[in-house]
């Protein structure tokens, strides 16, 4: 397992503290996590860190100790500009951007707004587009018995169990529960009630070579959306992942890490 450095950076006029997990060596990759926080993604990031320097910031408000930071940003435009500032502070000129779900949407917005800041783009089951014939399921109001099969091809498999498991010890349990809920609250600020903030008007600006990864059993955002993204991005290709739902990098970490690694080094 790669050594993980927990770096903290305060930016946005000193009003937002962001923890960034930094690991590995090699070309820089910046990973933007999904609605449920960064907790479950470590195993996948460790694989990437074998050949890359991986930066995994926590979205504003989800860094432990600064939950109110989310109120320092009002809308998606603020969030994109905030990430531009964070890139500057990290000394990242044009890293590869890798985003899952909500993080995939944010990665698209960054790459469309500042095409020069995204070397490559990897989208894992991203949010951001909307089709009336394939409405995105609202994960924030789904009971666990519906959420499990939407997130995982194997709802009771190892990855699903690990994702939903809670520690026995009460303080640790509260911490995990709070992080799970508050991460959805903070990321939800930029996508509630419909995860369409107009990316379709801006997505043509994306210039980075793009890999679109989609779990074929995604029950939140239909895999049909992969084509919608690919058609709108000039240089994009799709890799469907079998036996995976909305979290293919958790359910098939080896396969996804291998595909991403190959694409990034290509």
């Amino acid at each position: 397992m790669a050594t993980v450095e927990q770096r903290k950076i305060r930016c946005w006029q000193g009003k937002i503290e962001t923890e960034i997990e930094v690991s590995g060596d090699g070309p820089p990759v910046l990973f933007l996590h999904g609605p449920w926080g960064l907790r479950g993604d470590r195993k996948f990031l460790d694989r990437l860190a074998a050949l890359h320097r991986v930066y995994a910031p926590r979205h504003p408000g989800t860094t432990s100790g600064d939950p109110e930071a989310i109120h320092r940003l009002d809308e998606l435009w603020d969030l994109v500009v905030y990430y531009g500032e964070l890139f500057d502070r990290l000394g990242l000129e044009a890293p590869a951007l890798l985003g899952h779900s909500f993080g995939g949407m944010v990665a698209c917005e960054i790459a469309a707004t500042m095409p020069e800041r995204a070397g490559k783009l990897v989208l894992i089951d991203p949010l951001g587009l909307w089709r009336d014939d394939r409405p995105v399921k609202n994960w924030m109001i789904m009971p666990e018995d519906q959420l499990r099969p939407a997130l995982f091809a194997a709802p009771n498999g190892k990855a699903a169990r690990r994702f939903f498991e809670l520690p026995d010890e009460s303080d640790a349990r509260v911490e995990v529960q709070a992080s799970f809920i508050w991460s959805q609250a903070c990321t939800g600020k930029f996508v509630w009630p419909i995860p369409d903030r107009g990316l379709k008007k801006r997505i043509h600006r994306i210039a980075a070579p793009t890999l679109i990864i989609w779990g074929t059993a995604d029950g939140i955002v239909s895999p049909d959306y992969a084509q919608d993204f690919a058609q709108r991005i000039a240089n994009a290709r799709i890799e469907p992942i079998g036996d995976a739902g909305h979290l293919p990098h958790l359910e098939q970490p080896d396969r996804v890490a291998q595909l991403v690694g190959r694409f990034l080094l290509d």
Partner: protein, 412 residues
């Protein structure tokens, strides 16, 4: 003390298998599969009739409320109901308690300021201005408010409403959520600087702190009865003391289901209606209520560690359980007044919000409940606190001696 008639305006004739067909009383039941619009028209009219009847029978106030997309209560705009009640009760010593319009989901919120001012004008200064933050299902799902913004929208909206009521000059509002170039409200409330403000809450520590800081009346809208509200009640009064406020009972309102009959045994006539209420109407699953962000971070941590409010498996309980556990205070007038007196004293309730209509209760039984309550219970409890405390959260023009309560003389 003051006692107000509270009404949810529920769907009264759901099919017996409703709770098997639907997982939630909110959002899922489709109107055309469940509702009969002619019946709903009758419900609205019956509700208004029952409220006016209660006013004539001696209740001190009438409470309306706002909910959406559900069978449990759908006064979608309480100002519509409140304005009718204001007109029909002119000349009576009764407050119109709007508790009320949901600020975060009304844009711009000056609309609520106008509607409330209008009701205050129609009623001759009898408005109590209630400002709920709104249930998550209503505000965030039915009205699309971003959950994590609900509370800050609410606070900004309340500031805007208060300024709009009082400002002597036209002003511009440059807020985070609302921007208005020229605010000069017409009409303004008769009651200046503003009508009494009541803020409902259901168990959020943050709301308790906010209300005590503002020195408004906090209304705990629980359906689980006074006996199950002691944790929150104690927390509330501790907060009041900690912040140096006085222990005036009128700074607390509390909702209680009440059913009065000729005897304790006869009160079983309320059994099907209270079971209908808890089994069918109140059935809203956690995933529609506990939406991430609806609580701020401190309240979230508090709920995860030590909630102020207990949760119950309502469908497992029957009439006897609801009575034995204090959800419903039911029985003869003597039983009801004894239990109410104990509850009022224990929690220090100054404003009792009596839910005298609940569930599938038919119109005639509701009128009977109002009659018996106003004739045989109200006169025994309305004097509580008055020798010690003044109600600072009540319309000034209603602060006069009231005639003895008497049973309503019909008219409905």
């Amino acid at each position: 003390m003051k006692v107000c008639m509270f009404h949810l305006m529920p769907y009264r004739d759901l099919a017996p298998d409703f709770d098997q067909r639907y997982k939630s009383a909110y959002l899922d039941p489709v109107w055309f599969d469940v509702a009969d619009p002619d019946k709903v028209g009758q419900y609205y009219n019956s509700t208004l009739d029952e409220m006016v009847y209660a006013a004539r029978a001696g209740m001190h106030g009438l409470c309306t409320n706002q909910h959406h997309q559900n069978v449990y209560g759908f006064m979608a705009n309480p100002s519509l109901m409140g304005s009718v009640l204001a007109k029909l009760t002119n000349g009576l010593n009764v407050a119109i308690v709007q508790i009320g319009s949901t600020l975060p989901s009304t844009s711009p919120p000056t609309r609520v300021a106008e509607e409330y001012a209008l009701i205050d004008c129609i009623s001759g200064g009898r408005l109590v201005a209630g400002f709920p933050t709104g249930l998550p299902t209503d505000a965030t799902i039915s009205n699309g408010v971003i959950p994590i913004e609900q509370r800050e929208r609410y606070r900004e909206a309340l500031q805007l409403v208060l300024k709009a009521w009082q400002a002597r000059e036209v002003f511009a509002w440059n807020g985070k959520h609302y921007q208005l170039p020229m605010v000069n409200l017409w009409p303004r409330p008769i009651q200046q600087p503003h009508p009494p403000i009541w803020i409902p809450g259901s168990g959020s520590a943050t709301t308790v702190e906010f209300v005590v800081d503002r020195d408004d009346c906090f209304c705990h809208l629980s359906y689980f009865g006074a006996r199950n509200a002691e944790t929150l009640g104690d927390y509330y009064w501790d907060t009041v003391a900690r912040k140096g406020r006085d222990a005036n009972p009128y700074r607390l309102g509390f909702l209680q289901l009440i059913g009065v009959s000729e005897s304790d045994a006869a009160a079983e006539e309320y059994a099907p209606h209270v079971e209908y209420f808890f089994h069918k109407l109140l059935y809203t699953p956690q995933y529609y209520q506990a939406i991430p962000g609806y609580q701020d971070y401190p309240s979230l941590m508090r709920v995860l560690k030590a909630p102020l409010r207990e949760r119950f498996d309502l469908r497992g309980l029957k009439y006897k359980d609801f009575v034995d556990r204090g959800f419903l205070i039911a029985g003869s007038a003597a039983t009801v007044r004894d239990q109410l007196t104990e509850a009022v004293k224990r929690l220090r309730i100054g404003h009792l919000l009596a839910l005298l209509h609940f569930g599938s209760m038919p119109h005639q039984l509701c009128l009977k409940n109002i009659d018996l309550f106003c004739r045989d219970v109200l006169p025994h409890i309305e004097g509580l606190w008055d020798d010690e405390w003044q109600d600072r959260w009540w319309p000034q023009r209603l602060q006069v001696a009231r005639p003895m309560a008497s049973a309503a003389d019909g008219g409905c």
